[in-house]
Symmetry: C2
């Protein structure tokens, strides 16, 4: 049983190589550049942990983990184009550096190469793995579409918001764990539980992300406070506050959304607090996290094998606000 | 043995159904719209013919044919974005009608759904089919990248041009036939010959396309004459004329490429004729077509089984200029 850091190190050793042909350079160099921007590589490590919970890591689990990370980077490249994002991890996004067309095409080819790695899975498992990989890919596209639709929707219900973050974020975390579990020989029930662990963990993580943007310590979390508010991003805080706010608060929120004012962040945070969505979001996060741990508990393997996954959950969702 | 029209009709009967979930509509409706624009569906029919040359059509060959057509439409959607094309088959392109982000994402999800159909191939063949599908997909991306690179390159060598059209067009025609042949149980040698038939046919077809743009009868071919010349598109005619032209003709061509003038099309066509590239392109087309027929000849099945493929070649490349 290896912990997050060990698996992460071993994955990086294998992943940090060229995944593309040399030529044409104009196609493949942008793809390499983007992978070179780094990242926590959480999803492939979850795939490896999903396998190791049940059995020692199979050779092709490394391939599926690689496919998952390539798929994730493909979505980031295309999302950055759609979101017109200038920076990714402090560096120019792919379309900023190489132009929109090159970025689009580099993303496409990265998805195809992800399927090259999936194609290394032996006959006995390949149909199931592709089915899960594809249904996950479609869900992630659906989540991104809803996220874009919400930009043009003044009021997004909490249910719609939760569905969107589940599709855009949680489904891939769940699938990463489940693919690892499948390859590790887990039974149907255990596969369901590990996927549900990932889904709940993903929801807790995303709500934490929303919370920290408004209420986190910028020094501690390394992000500018209120970035989501400035960008009018639909977050748990905004959707829930819109439900709870008084008529006059709702009016003020809609005004803040319609036109930028210098005190926008301060005023929006003040409404959030007055509606109590800061506390509510902590409660909801805690509920999803408990849900995750319950499903982890229910997996029928020895408790000490689950320690790396517990550690992962604590790494992703911290409780010291 | 069914001819092109019969197979085409039967494929359309199966293909003209919904390939996507209902929701979210904002993601899947654009995808359905694009497929609704129609097309000759040449590639899937080639896949079916490739199978039927060797054995009766297997159920999953219809699935692979569907995957090929979805893949082809995915490339058209993304190419239209990159080329800023306003129209496709006389109708607004996807990004014109639904916006760039929706079109990008609809293309992505169409590629994933193509892999859903590929995933219906039985265990015994799936690895080989995915390998060929993926290497083809990468080649098509490489071809599109070279095509874009060439827009910024004043002089493109003939060899580079031929490599580009092989990657962008021929490789997919070859792979469509070869996948069908593999599923129909063809041996290695026959697979090579049918792929070479498709590759040569694709090159002949593309050079014909270049020829007709400048020298075709607009009434007969339904395309505006000289569209490629207006758009400064690198074609066989342009690349070859640049090699053959005198110093003063080269200078004139570079001037015509650098600035639009009202008599650009007439003057460029006059240079093409003076260099003899109209006649040369017919010779080259004929050479590729003979090459295609030679490989068809070399396939070790009864000659009368090859009639549909001969008919297809005559349909794609006509000799009555």
């Amino acid at each position: 049983m290896q912990d997050f850091e060990e698996l992460s190190r071993e994955f990086l050793n294998r992943f940090n190589t060229s995944h593309f042909p040399q030529k044409p350079e104009s196609l493949y160099q942008p793809a390499e550049y983007f992978l070179g921007l780094g990242g926590k590589r959480v999803r492939p490590v979850m795939c490896l942990m999903g396998n190791e919970l049940f059995d020692e890591i199979k050779p092709h689990t490394w391939d599926v983990a690689t496919a998952i990370e390539l798929f994730h980077n493909f979505t980031l490249i295309h999302d950055d184009i759609m979101d017109k994002a200038p920076l990714r991890r402090g560096m120019p996004t792919l379309h900023e550096k190489f132009g929109h067309s090159n970025a689009l095409l580099a993303g496409d080819v990265m998805l195809v190469v992800a399927y090259d790695y999936i194609n290394k899975v032996p006959q006995s498992n390949i149909h199931k793995i592709i089915q899960l990989f594809n249904s996950t890919a479609k869900a992630v596209c659906e989540g991104q579409q809803l996220d874009m639709d919400f930009e043009r929707t003044p009021e997004v219900s909490l249910a719609d918001y939760l569905q969107m973050i589940e599709l855009k974020t949680s489904v891939l975390l769940a699938a990463s764990l489940k693919m690892g579990a499948m390859l590790g020989g887990a039974g149907e029930g255990n596969q369901q539980h590990i996927a549900a662990f990932g889904r709940n963990l993903g929801l807790a993580f995303q709500i934490q992300d929303d919370y920290l943007d408004a209420f986190g310590d910028p020094a501690k979390f390394g992000k500018q406070s209120g970035g989501d508010i400035v960008a009018n991003k639909k977050t748990y805080l905004l959707c829930r506050a819109m439900q709870l706010a008084s008529a006059s608060q709702q009016k003020e929120m809609l005004e803040l959304l319609a036109a930028d004012s210098p005190d926008k962040v301060v005023r929006m945070i003040s409404i959030f607090k007055s509606c109590g969505v800061d506390e509510e979001s902590k409660i909801l996060m805690e509920r999803y996290l408990s849900g995750a741990f319950q499903h982890l508990e229910d997996i029928a393997v020895l408790a000490n094998r689950k320690e790396p996954l517990r550690q992962l959950a604590r790494f992703l969702v911290q409780r010291d606000y």
